[in-house]
Amino acid sequence: MVTLENIQFSYTKGFPALSGISARIEPGIYLLAGENGAGKTTLLRIMAGALAPMMGTCSVNGSNPASDVPSQRGKTFLVEDNMVLPGKNIMEFAKMHSRFYPTFSPELFAENLKAFGMSGHEPLKSLSYGNRKKAQISYALALGVDLLLLDEPTNGLDIQSKSVLKSIIARSIADNQTIIVATHTVSDLENIFDGAVMLSGSRLLFAALEDEVAARLSFTLSSAPDPEALYSESSLGRYLNISIADGEETRVDWRLLYCALNSPERDKIIGILNSNTSFEYD
């Protein structure tokens, strides 16, 4: 479980990158969404222990990811966008890097690479951006860390690889693991998220499990605008609506919810979402 308590961080004095972020994230796969500059990458880096919050605390299963204790530090791993890994190929990198991670599974790593159609012996330098990303994600998912953070994992992946990514994320996750995926293209990984954390303007908009959102909001498709909808948008002649749940749970459309949270209806929707969720936040 990841616990964030009143996290504050700024790169430049007076310009907060994150402000008052508090949330408790249970094991599962989570979407981290927010506009450009909302603080997604900063939050990922804090959870990975690569940045220390100026105020507040972050813990992963009770351990500080930024601590100098190897067993605590080894609980998290972050795959950043445009990350460069040393080594001739991903196999060589894995051989020298995985020895720090006792939970690493070589079998899962090989399976993940195979699913992407890679052998692992392709020279990293000559790989395309997308293929480099596939190799990195295959390795990261096999590390078996308590908290895996993926920043824009679908960037550069072809259509088929995006669906492979979805299946290997779902297959690789263990019961006690948390995977947080920061992405702008929610549709690429739809249906795999157990919950979402949404940021806006360096603050936490909401953090909730899918069940909790589905219990409060209903996501429907109609041929005419729904007058009861809290938020509605047209798409190819039809209307996607968010309304207050009437007892029957529908599948959460995270993209639609994200758009709704960036609309004038935001406060109303947040008010509904924030009523008795299992998350704790401002």
Binding site: V69, S71, V84, P102
Partner: protein, 269 residues
């Protein structure tokens, strides 16, 4: 692929196993650097051994030591190459003290051994036994081999200081790591040079004045037998000035090590 993790049975206290694992992690960069440094060392040793005129051999000798020393100063640049990911290196689950130990063993012990072993062995064996038909070369070689222990200490400490400051700057910089690493090495050399000149200058002046005064009293006013190398060797002897230089450089090394440790311990990109 076999999975040989070292952390499973390794406690969270300082572990030599993890230091060894860090060597394995940095192996590609280490392998490349050691090969290049060894090749350059062999090349310059061969140059030193090539028969030639007195002037040519003296020139090669000075060039060899200058280049090898600068290669040592700039050796931490291997940690700033484009193929390295700052975040992956930083997130390695090893203690800051283990990472510091790795850097110190590699840059302060292994690199100088790789670089200087061959030229020093060549100096102590073949070059030392060369005939007396190379007066300048013999004089320069003799100056290096027979300089006082304080001079040798100052040379070694200043090289370590320069290397560690460069490493510290590379670890600290977010961008332009190569440029800042090179600039820092140059700056340290300039600072050490100016400091050495100021402190030793007073010492030299006082000794030169004393010597001149003594010679004058003896009526010895002919300076044709003046040997600058012999004079420098006489001057750079243990004295308050040279001890101060050693103290300042040592303080610089301690500060650089403390800053590197702090950088490795404190999470920030």
């Amino acid at each position: 692929m076999t999975n040989s993790t070292i952390c499973q049975h390794t406690p969270d206290s300082f572990s030599l196993q993890r230091v060894a694992a860090l060597f394995a992690y940095y192996a590609p960069a280490i392998r490349r650097q050691v090969c290049i440094y060894l090749a350059v060392s062999i090349l310059f040793t061969i140059l030193l051994l090539i028969p030639g005129s007195d002037t040519m051999r003296t020139g090669f000798f000075s060039l060899t030591w200058t280049i090898l020393q600068w290669m040592w100063y700039l050796s931490p640049l291997s940690m700033a190459s484009k193929g390295r990911s700052g975040i992956v290196d930083r997130l390695i689950p090893a203690k800051a003290l283990e990472k510091l130990s790795f850097f110190l063993i590699y840059f302060v012990v292994i690199i100088p051994l790789v670089e200087f072993t061959l030229p020093v062995v060549a100096e102590l064996t073949i070059l030392k036994s060369l005939g007396n038909d190379l007066p300048h070369f013999k004089s320069v070689l003799d100056f290096q081999l027979n300089s006082s222990w304080i001079m040798k200490t100052i040379n070694i400490l200043s090289a370590i200081c320069c290397c560690l400051v460069s490493l510290c700057v590379i670890l600290k910089s977010r961008h332009n790591k190569m440029l800042f690493g090179i600039l820092s090495a140059f700056c340290v050399q300039i600072i050490l040079g100016v400091m050495g000149a100021i402190l030793s200058g007073f010492e030299m002046a006082s000794k030169a004045f004393q010597k001149g005064f003594e010679d004058g009293l003896k009526g010895k006013i002919d300076a044709t037998d003046f040997d600058p190398i012999e004079f420098t060797r006489e001057i750079i002897q243990p004295s308050p000035a040279t001890y101060t230089v050693v103290g300042i450089i040592t303080a610089g090394i301690v500060i650089a090590v403390a800053l590197i440790y702090r950088r490795l311990r404190k999470p920030s990109l």
